[in-house]
Symmetry: C2
Subunit: 460 residues, 2 copies
Amino acid sequence: MPYFDAASSAPLHPVARQALLASLDEGWADPARLHREGRRAALLLDAAREAAAEAVGCRPDELVFTSSGTRAVHSAVAGALAGRRRVGRHLVLSAVEHSSVIHCAGALAAEGGSFSEVPVDRTGAVDPAAYGRALRPDTALACLQSANHEVGTEQPVAETAEICAAAGVPLMVDAAQSLGWGPVPGRWSLLAASAHKWGGPAGVGLLAVRKGVRFAPRGPVDERESGRAPGFENIPAIVAAAASLRAVRAEAAAEAVRLRALVDRIRAAVGSLVPDVEVVGDPVRRLPHLVTFSCLYVDGETLLHELDRAGFSVSSGSSCTSSTLTPSHVLKAMGVLTEGNVRVSLPAGTTDEEVDGFLGALPGVVSDVREKLGAPVPAAAAPAPRTSLVVDALGRRCPIPVIELAKVIGGVPVGGTVTVLSDDEAARLDIPAWCAMREQEYVGEEPADRGSAYVVRRLR
Amino acid sequence: MPYFDAASSAPLHPVARQALLASLDEGWADPARLHREGRRAALLLDAAREAAAEAVGCRPDELVFTSSGTRAVHSAVAGALAGRRRVGRHLVLSAVEHSSVIHCAGALAAEGGSFSEVPVDRTGAVDPAAYGRALRPDTALACLQSANHEVGTEQPVAETAEICAAAGVPLMVDAAQSLGWGPVPGRWSLLAASAHKWGGPAGVGLLAVRKGVRFAPRGPVDERESGRAPGFENIPAIVAAAASLRAVRAEAAAEAVRLRALVDRIRAAVGSLVPDVEVVGDPVRRLPHLVTFSCLYVDGETLLHELDRAGFSVSSGSSCTSSTLTPSHVLKAMGVLTEGNVRVSLPAGTTDEEVDGFLGALPGVVSDVREKLGAPVPAAAAPAPRTSLVVDALGRRCPIPVIELAKVIGGVPVGGTVTVLSDDEAARLDIPAWCAMREQEYVGEEPADRGSAYVVRRLR
């Protein structure tokens, strides 16, 4: 049963498991104590720190272990902001950061600070020059992920770091998705990562703060981890995290080539096997193991369930799969379709056969879901055209509004319009995205009694 | 090699180890995902929450897992203070709380709030009535440990909770030291605990917040753990924590009786085997497995090293063992001797023979350390007395100032004084404590060019 959701969490690497088991017996004591059990624990912790620092590309005394990647991000942002409070309370981040970074920006704004989001292009990448223009004299910190967690696009971290350095602004890199593949290049100032993304255990994050970066930990602290990560250290998990990082790095070059080829196959095949699909993200500057595509006229949650029934575990950035009903901010910032979104992220060791199986199952699963939802069939005959039509999709959720639009567009003549009434938040993104994919004109959105009216002009 | 430092961290319980191993294979995926790996992880998390809630004595939806006991305390205090911001920004805590609670009080004060420390008696216990008098109309939260981590004294939590409830102030109980022995009685509002204290793995804390308690998580949050503990859940460790809590509880009644008897033996024997020793903490209302004593004329760090060489791992609250050189705030608040302090905390399964071994080794170790330090021997002959003497112990660290005092006190007649010049912070506590133990009069402290002058009058 192939698991294709490594970007959420990777299965435990055998080396992590081995190291965890060994250090359960050696590393359970308090490393701050003077007795032999404590000294043994402290030795394990020191060795893990050295190994992790080497993999990150920093000094051991620049690196601390946190209880998760999220905590590393939260501490990095809060500490760097507090350390440069005199400079100002402005934060710059890309529009496609992980929610842990976005939540920090929200917390800053709630405390009276402010932030600027740098937009991305249709592949999901920021433009370093545009990033530089967002820096202000009162910018305390800049944040940029090394690679996007939803679409795999690599960000120009080294170039952006140079621009930030020239402006005297520290750059915090969220390296959660890429650290297992290699060190983050360039002159970054802070770095956060998460062990369970590379096959380490849950419960371990890394926080690196370069010497010379002003950093003032927020909230109550204690004497552990240089005062940057309070609470008893989880040494067995830390040892397992460091050992597995070293192990995945040793395999990274060969595995990246292999998985990159598998992903290229998926990228190429999905478009030809499934009609009305958009593969998103940069096709070249990307993580080796991750591909994301969106299927028109499909609801993401149903698609995930059906793929799960067919034996494939994938993820989705569609609003339909989230408890908040807010479509993925990443897909939204990229301006691509959010409906029927599927993220495939291959764990190390994924075989050709597993990918074959997925590509074999996908077209049938998508067409079954579309059939159930009454999605339009390309060959459908059109009745006598009227110059304008109104579709009432109020109270109906993604992807129904787009399906209804697609069904009736043939019912107006070229130059005629279809107005879709919808109160589903995703429609605001997906109707323009559908128009772009279908080469129809998206005229605009008008407020309605309930929800909005989205006007589309038929061009062909 | 007996390990007698269970209060710092207990060795992993066999049930914890078993549960951890099993759930490494089942619980590594993201429980927020819809695929089968995610659903399996979510099931494990739910089951662990139910088991832990039952052991705590709360509803499953009142309990979240944090990444450590320290984090649980920090989140409990910050969330409860923020939830009652309109009431005020005053915190009440006992003077002998764990550093994680004290750090919260410090952080509150740094942000413009205030706190009151309720003093303790010589056994380390607060008086519920005195605690009640510290509550003010602007008190947002009260904190009280269930039992003290350094001396084992149980606090009157149920009585204090009633007084707090009558005043409308929520009570946060730090149950880190006692939760493995049984649920915390009474109408507490919030509770924090730490799995590695009961033989669970590191990396898991519990935070319970009773329904109806105003609680507003601070800082960036996410959708995990009811928005109270951001970051990817460490499910294998959580499962192991819950399973081992249930297991230690099943053994608790029998093991408590057994360890209580062993501790009673140590309490009785230490005083007769070692001269000039003070056993501290409540002899009856105490944790079953923990005993603390202080030895005059001994430096805690050397004593720990020598006990470690003799094969016994213990802990100490003496300033000499801490990097900060500040003597234990617990011993200080109790007004007992801080020098030569030893905490013995027996893990489950400790045998009679191990305790015999410790009691056999202790007198020799203490007298060796004293001899090296030149501590006074009771039978030493005194030269012709002078009415007053000055001892210059400037630049010399604990326990030297007290040793020098003890050496010369016989050199002044009854009614005469000895003035000890010392710049060691511990002298301020230990010279009065020595006077109390020796029935000499502590006259007081005067500022000196360097450090202070401590004046002692010989009474016998």
